[in-house]
Symmetry: C2
Subunit: 359 residues, 2 copies
């Protein structure tokens, strides 16, 4: 019996609802399988905690989390707490503190889902974005001078290190080398951002040339690449992008998939020195929080990636097959997909499919 | 008779073809109208010039351009010349040197065009992106330390000044105040980029609150905003964005419009102290350059914006009506729109419409 210790941070808004949903599914799956068990410890950190304690989590939260095998996160952020406080107080320090330098975000039109793109059907779009997750444009380095005066100047440093750039690009090449068409596209903007991005391009080409000559590689400026996600999303296997560019591309990818409520992500520390973290791409969605109608697929798909990471690809696949079966049947759908079902009804339907499979 | 002095920089690749096309159209229009005349001076600057002279343009090119009323630019950049050389040697210095701090980029599905978005038809999507055009992420400030060593660090500074931020945001509010629904959306990323973007948000809210209380305003993170361009592009009147975010959003907008070959832009110095510059959003497109099949609409639409800027909105509108009539008739279309026509055939068709109108 494999017992997995899971730190659970539901966070804010719909995060609380989708995490609850995914836990229910994981527990039933574990029962059905019989070979795995999840030992959860839940941490009530986030914006509610902040309003009581003046911080998003206790000061030692990283050392608390460190002993867990894996982390499940819902969503962080809520009106009343400035975003740059809520995120820099919890989510971003975890990504950095645990060297989760790979943020893996699949873009795939699931069976049964209508993409907002004309003529793009399930199976047509299926690739992975590897987002750098620890440095780049989210450096937290910068400052303001002459605050409030007409001559005020604000500087933010984008910082790329060779180590940080090489490790994520190398990871992306490894993945691309296993992809059907062995293709890797790098997101750049070396025409406008004249120090950081030419460096990125250099590393991208160096590693490709010397270590992965069998991978077809090309660089595309982020503006054109965003347009291509709409115009020809079928040409990609793996896309590697800096922190900010990956952030933008994956929300856009979520849109192409039919709803950002379905996009998953895995924050991975490939060396497994620290726990990895699994969270949907969507935010806390204050507008629908508390209504029980959030789409649980983003969280569930993220949990399926967690199962992959734990060496149980068989279970990860079983979960996604069940999800796609439910979507394809089309009877149970949350409002973002044009239906009227609740989060719980959706999870029930997915669990029923899993039960049928294990029966 | 209004005689307009136009500095023409065809630039590289298809820029040469689309500028030629737009000039032909403007000349015929001037003949038909009888009240305006264009006096062109063409400058052969760009990557071909660079291969001969080791620079994109003569050192004094800004003072040469300065005496013109307006500038028409095709596209800059070509394989063999690194992008950060070609752009920083011509396009970007013009935007900066002439304080063209407003980059206005309409996003509209033209009559007769099929958007790649399911169920979005002409008339459904019609808004303007105001992109900051002189500072921000394209600062050119930064550097590299320990080049090539494992401990290399590369820094790029994003720089926002209060002056630069206020002036573009104020311009956007003015435009929004005249829009049908009086709406302004600001693109931000204050949750991840923790110095520059909270400052941007502050200015956005300050100006809205004190100077434009009648305008409905809201901020959206760039990741969600990119997704919204696909999921609900109908909610926008005016979007204001930093240099990089505006760049990404407008290529995406071009995709939503059906082809980036059609997206126009105006680099405006609102104070009219310096010439403004009109150029399509698309690049030099080496893959189709020289074939005579580039879509001229981006360049022609940009010329229509030039006519607006010169106080001849009547002519600007006449041009766009002719363009839309041709697209709607559907007989003449360049390959990017699924047709087989040449650039010249398309221009001929548009000119024929204009002639019919003036007859
Ligand atoms: C060529 C490049 C520097 C330019 C930009 O990013 O500004 C282009 O993409 C544009 O949108 O005008
Ligand atoms: C909340 C925010 C800081 C975060 C990010 O930009 O990384 C989110 O958008 C994401 O994509 O995980």
């Amino acid at each position: 019996m494999q017992t997995v210790s899971v730190a659970v941070i539901p966070g804010d808004g719909i995060g609380i609802e989708t995490v609850q949903a995914a836990r229910r599914l994981l527990d039933r799956l574990a029962e059905l399988d019989g070979g795995i068990k999840f030992a959860y410890t839940e941490f009530p950190w986030g914006c509610a905690y902040y309003t009581q304690h003046g911080e998003m989590a206790p000061k030692d939260f990283l050392s608390t989390l460190r002993s867990f095998e894996t982390i499940m996160l819902g969503a962080v952020g809520y009106p009343g707490v400035p975003d740059h406080v809520s995120l820099w107080g919890l989510l971003l320090p975890i990504r950095r503190g645990f060297e989760q330098y790979v943020n893996m975000r699949p873009v795939r039109i699931l069976r049964g889902v209508t993409s907002p793109l004309r003529g793009r059907n399930p199976g047509d779009v299926n690739f992975v974005v590897i987002r750098e997750n620890t440095e780049g444009e989210y450096s937290s380095m910068g400052g303001r001078l002459h605050t409030g005066f007409p001559h005020e100047v604000v500087v933010q440093n984008t910082v790329f290190t060779r180590l940080g750039t090489e490790r994520v690009i190398r990871y992306a090449y490894r993945l691309a080398a296993k992809a059907p068409r062995k293709r890797l596209c790098g997101a750049t903007k070396s025409n406008g951002i004249n120090w950081a991005m030419p460096f990125w391009d250099e590393v991208f080409n160096q590693i490709g040339e010397t270590e992965f000559p069998e991978v077809e590689r090309w660089l595309t400026h982020i503006d054109a690449l965003a347009a291509n996600f709409v115009l020809k999303p079928d040409v990609y296997d793996v896309v590697v992008a800096s922190n900010l560019f990956g952030d933008i591309l994956t929300d856009l990818g979520g849109a192409v998939m039919g709803s950002i409520g379905m996009a998953p992500s895995a924050n991975i520390n490939p060396e497994r020195k620290y726990p990895s973290m699994f969270e949907p791409v969507h935010g806390s969605a204050p507008d629908i929080a508390g209504k029980g109608i959030a789409n649980p697929v983003g969280q569930i798909w993220s949990s399926s990636m967690m199962l992959d990471h734990l060496g149980r690809q068989d279970l990860g696949e079983a979960v996604m097959t069940a999800v796609e079966d439910v979507l394809e049947e089309g009877r149970v759908r949350t409002p973002d997909l044009g239906g009227r079902s609740t989060t719980n009804e959706m999870v029930d339907a997915i669990i029923a499919r899993l039960e049928a499979r294990f029966r």
